[in-house]
Assembly symmetry: C2
Homo-oligomer: 286 residues x 2
């Protein structure tokens, strides 16, 4: 496995892989790789011949008061993880390589970016879509892999790819969880032991919602109330939103639609200073 820092090197390596008929898989990351990323890389390695992982803490997706500076960075460890998981190329550019001059161009997805996390992180998705467009243009993958944990991100990226006719497929892989149910996230590193205990309630609430829906409860107001009750078990866990939304438009639902992907239940909550998000796909009884 090779690690490169220059866009031109990625283009050369990918062109060589293509020449020998290989398919290209791509896992964009901000590093601080964990079991969630590993599962994405392993899935890519299973599906594609040549797997590129990017490690880039993208400044344009952080808000002014967010954790850009303290976001965990450990390239050496990340490179080892990529190699073990079956990647063929790590692309770890400096900020200057990705933004060599003043960036004036933004890829903006309307509407669905203003919902859920978009209300609390106004420029976040614009940064995500723009850097993904850039990375897709650099790596030119056949398939790019994203985690279901960032549900809104996946929906937004899929819409961008469809609207702009980008020549790749987006594959969304299941959320990887700790034994406790806590969704694995690079930001879990920020949590104290006590905060980690409280954070478990997020998935507990989502599971409660999913179970009630499977039992036939279709009223979203009731489902949200039930999630609130679970989260209320800790006085320190501060929910930011608790939502049940249409899985494509991310608009709030009043009643569950019938089906295997009837809705997404999504929670953002802070067990202290760290903001965590999680979600679950809601199915109705078959």
């Amino acid at each position: 496995m090779q690690t490169v820092t220059q866009i031109s090197q990625v283009r050369t390596e990918v062109a060589n892989a293509r020449k020998s008929g290989q398919s290209i898989g791509f896992v964009p990351t901000m590093g601080a790789l964990h079991a969630g990323h590993i599962s994405l890389i392993e899935t890519a390695a299973r599906d594609c011949d040549f797997v590129v992982v990017s490690v880039f803490v993208n400044p344009t997706q952080f808000g002014a008061n967010e954790d850009l500076e303290k976001y965990p960075r450990n390239l050496e460890r990340d490179v080892e993880i990529c190699a073990k998981a079956g990647a063929n190329l790590v692309f770890a550019p400096a900020i200057n390589e990705m933004y060599p001059e003043q960036n004036l161009t933004w890829v903006d997805v309307d509407k669905i970016t203003t919902r859920l996390c978009g209300q609390y992180r106004p420029d976040h998705f614009r940064g995500v879509t723009t850097v993904c467009a850039k990375l897709f243009n650099i790596v030119t993958p056949d398939i790019a892999y994203f985690g279901q944990k960032d549900a809104q991100q996946s929906v937004v990226i899929k819409k961008m790819v469809a609207d702009l006719n980008m020549p790749l497929k987006i594959e969304v892989c299941p959320t990887v969880r700790e034994v406790s149910g806590l969704a694995i996230s690079s930001r879990n590193q920020y949590l104290t032991e006590e905060e980690k205990q409280d954070a478990k309630l997020i998935y507990a609430a989502l599971k409660k919602c999913s179970q009630l829906a499977k039992q036939g409860e279709q009223n979203c107001e009731i489902l949200i109330k039930e999630m609130k009750i679970v989260l209320a078990a800790s006085s320190k866990l501060m929910p930011q939103y608790i939502k049940i939304v249409n899985p494509k438009t991310l608009a709030d639902l009043e009643t569950l639609i019938d089906g295997a992907i009837a809705a997404i239940a999504a929670i953002a909550a802070k067990p202290g200073k760290t903001r965590l998000i999680d979600n679950i796909i809601i199915s109705t009884p078959t």
Copy 2:
């Protein structure tokens, strides 16, 4: 030469060309092809093995009060012209093929789109950049060809390609003119004979500016005043803007920078209801 209407057909044809090692040239147009387009297609055919021409009157780049409905359309004639000029594939999609569902994604270039024409056509460049991003993703050309006549468009597209790391080169070809000097445009069809006479003054003014600059005049206020005097020869020709701008940032210049591409002098003017634009590259004495 083949004419297709489906995105999937373009992808198949381009993939076949690529498989046999051919380079791909692309000329995006709104149809109503004229000598300017022909020169782009011929240049593409000279430089590239496989030339794609798109013919699509893109609704998202027309303002509410602009000429979307009456914009000239004649696909049969356009296809003939493409074949003669050396194109290999014409892509003439219906609106539904390009915008099959509600489009939420926009590629926006800041700052340089607000200058010159951007002041008078607020959403125009957003429509242009978005449809070009879509077309580039569909055709995946090595080189795309644009005309210098739409100077701001070329600067904006180049900035988009650079900022988003799009894997293609933008080639800007010289403006093709009638014997009178009038820049050839699909919208010239709208002009009466009298309006055409007045319209000639636009290029006359630009040439005056270029000559004075070559003789050493560096004061843009003076150069603009001289262009105004030329345009004033017709009382019916209404200038919208007369500008001398930095060729990269499109910001107004007070004094010419030294060099072969010291500035762009640009004019928008209406000899009646039709809005015409033209420009000239200004060099200082060597």
